[in-house]
Symmetry: C2
Subunit: 306 residues, 2 copies
């Protein structure tokens, strides 16, 4: 297999996070950081497209480079880094945003360095769909494009988001986002509306209940890993995307069997992510640990024929 090229367009942030299990201040975060480290856990390098300020710590740049990230597309702009602060209660499914400082993110206009434009795999993390569309204009013939979004864009940039959804291969949304976008309480009906726009697959994130992949008439469910102590759920969705595309990029072709495995690998790396703050656990995970957990995931749902 040739060294696969995966472009990720997203945020690099300094996160301050508080959970019942501890607190970190200005740890490395943002969708692109989680994606890079997760893809690297599966042996896949990322061509990063993001923006940081002048105060971006060299140690974090080294961390990303150390996980194989190509930083040619990481813009360093005058000003301060994007910062986010949030808090999780004992119910880890709900988080409260305490502070958001966009800083240099306000001026982010993704520009792909020439070598990136031949990318086979592209992840458009949750940013303004206008920017997501501009990235799709810049890549030449990607094999798989994947898009994440959120309630903010569904409500405020619906037209651009619809255009972007219509142009990608895989859509990643959580349950509420599907219901909100399709304006229906029924998740399956909502999923059909999203798929009718053109994507080959829709992955619905269900938080502690796992994730489901819908492709045509196919339905594939992967439960979440049962963890007694979730330390920090931040970044689980982006790590999932990194594991999913990171696995897929290593395969010769995109088959249904590979999509199923990719869903499990995404769930595997997401499960490691939430075991510690920031990318701490994810950056240290070994291939053997990933293989073991993949087998555990298989076993959770294995049932024989009758």
């Amino acid at each position: 297999v040739a060294d696969p090229s995966v472009v990720c367009v997203g945020t690099v942030a300094l996160d301050t996070v508080e959970t019942p299990f501890g607190r970190v201040e200005e740890a490395i975060g943002g969708s692109a950081s989680y994606f890079v480290v997760a893809a690297a856990a599966l042996g896949t390098r990322t061509q990063l497209v993001s923006v940081v300020g002048e105060d971006f710590p060299a140690a974090y740049r080294d961390l990303l480079a150390g996980r194989g990230a190509d930083l040619a597309g990481l813009q360093a702009l005058p000003g301060r880094c994007f910062r986010w602060a949030g808090r999780y209660d004992f119910d880890m499914n709900h988080r409260e945003t305490l502070d958001t400082q966009l800083n240099v993110l306000s001026d982010f206009r993704p520009v792909l360095p020439e070598p990136y434009r031949a990318a086979d795999f592209v992840f458009l993390a949750n940013v303004d769909p206008v920017l997501q569309l501009s990235v799709l204009e810049q890549v030449r013939r990607p094999r798989v494009t994947m898009l994440d979004s959120m309630n903010f864009w569904i409500a405020g940039a619906r037209e651009a988001l619809t255009a972007a959804l219509s142009r990608v291969d895989v859509v990643l949304m959580n349950e509420e986002e599907v219901r909100q976008y399709a304006d229906t309480p029924n998740l399956l009906k909502g999923a059909r509306q999203v798929l009718a726009l053109g994507p080959r697959a829709l992955i619905i994130k269900k938080g502690e209940y796992g994730a489901v992949l819908l492709a045509g008439d196919r339905y594939f469910y992967c439960p979440a890993y049962p963890l007694e102590d979730v330390k920090d759920p931040t970044g689980a969705g982006d790590a999932f995307a990194g594991g999913f595309l990171g696995y897929l990029a290593q395969q010769g072709e995109v088959t249904v069997a590979h999509l199923r495995r990719a869903l499990v690998y995404g769930s595997v790396v997401a499960s490691f992510t939430v075991e510690d703050f920031s990318v701490t656990r994810l950056a240290g995970v070994t291939r053997a640990e990933i293989a073991t957990r993949y087998r555990e995931f298989r076993d959770f749902t294995f049932v024989d024929a009758v």
Copy 2:
């Protein structure tokens, strides 16, 4: 395989149910009715222990008998049947009780006819744990006993419920009930507390997200069947129990593989149950339809080794 004997102790009710998809008045309902019809769908007869009033329609008695139920333990008391009325919103996960008339249920003291006392399999549906304990006193050497409960008894009859939980093989609870009983937001920690009381297995119902079975260190997840139109969720949990024990009773021994299949069969019959009001769909389901859906369930979570 000898004709297996499965005792079910629960309610027979006249249900009035309203959902966005319709309404039924005084349809046959109650935990024991759903259990009988679900077990019958897998070819298993139930020895019924319940109570009805003088106004119990002959047609409903015929329906239960037609599904192979032994009605020797169905007490007919002076007075009116137990009645329940409820309404579901578009969010089918929440229901509102509009009316509860206990009537003859207030005087229900389960008495097992002599032939029932040799039962191999016993289902104690959601009734007063004091009554559940009295049934456990009456059966001689059951191979598998299974208990369902609810928030009402957890709050109001904790001591008796704990005694009952300690004496059964399989416990059936929903997520909120596990959290409430164990007084912890963490489901896994709560599950360990329940299992520490003695049961061999705990099945946690997750509504639209399916069900999980925990036995020792084993963890087995079965998602719910993806349905576009859930017409009436009433009785899904009791039908699940009927499918689970109905399948298990047909097997020679209780192995891990059989428990896994039983979880899937329980989910299969529950999925048919909610496709129509009362036991309408469940009573008409064929073995071929069950086999097809079992294969679909397998396919939903199938992932190959790598």
